[in-house]
Symmetry: C2
Subunit: 111 residues, 2 copies
DNA sequence: ACGAGTTACCTCGCCTGTCAAGGTATTTTC
DNA sequence: GAAAATACCTTGACAGGCGAGGTAACTCGT
């Protein structure tokens, strides 16, 4: 089963920040890794991804720089900032809380 | 901690359908029960609630009728339909899947 | 009798995040 | 030399959440 966009809405930033905790990376690669880790059940659309990068950078959660590898298409690398790490920690806490609340609200009940 | 709107987005309908599995109810009461069950961490804004009722009814997930109790403000009761129950089952499955995927994507990792 | 609070409903218009569609440029492969 | 893959980006439409505003009936204290 794949997961609908509205369900993931609001988790986009956290997912990207979490991925960047593994080290600096660039858009294309970040997206592939996320898809892999999600078992193919989920991947960002490109527009969503680059919109998110822009938003995150504007908010100071990530910083970017152009990679200077010789051949191949240019790549813009992203690094998570201190503020981004703090945000991620908060997002993780919120996710824990969300699971509790939603399990209570939509989980099946015994009789 | 309270949960942000974007995180809940897309779960609104499932939460309402799940609540209606306890029997027919009306807007104000549905919302109060949801708040209670969420431990006060979450409650719909009225506009969100009534927007959702409209959407759900248009999609055939719920049916409504006016209550005829004598005194007090009029109440519009909602009942979950067969289609609504099927939708809820699908939503619950999606939620189970979502938890797995998001735990994989934003969960803390051991070293 | 009357004003405040509560119950209970509803709509309009803004904001934000997703994403289909479209576009650019380079390298690799056949 | 053409097709596919890598890699980036923007524009505009759409949908859901919700602030703000509105209606109406009952209850309670004074």
């Amino acid at each position: 089963m794949s997961i609908s966009a509205d369900i993931l809405r609001g988790h986009t930033d956290a997912i990207i920040l979490a991925q960047l905790m593994n080290g600096d990376s660039y858009g294309y690669e970040i997206n592939k890794r996320i898809s892999q880790r999600a078992g193919g059940a989920y991947g960002f659309k490109e527009a969503t991804l680059y919109t998110a990068f822009k938003r995150l950078e504007q908010n100071g959660m990530i910083a970017s720089y152009w990679g200077d590898e010789g051949p191949g298409a240019r790549r813009r690398y992203y690094a998570i900032t201190q503020a981004g790490m703090a945000q991620l920690a908060a997002d993780r806490q919120e996710w824990t809380e969300t699971k509790k609340v939603l399990d209570a609200l939509i989980g099946q009940k015994e009789g």
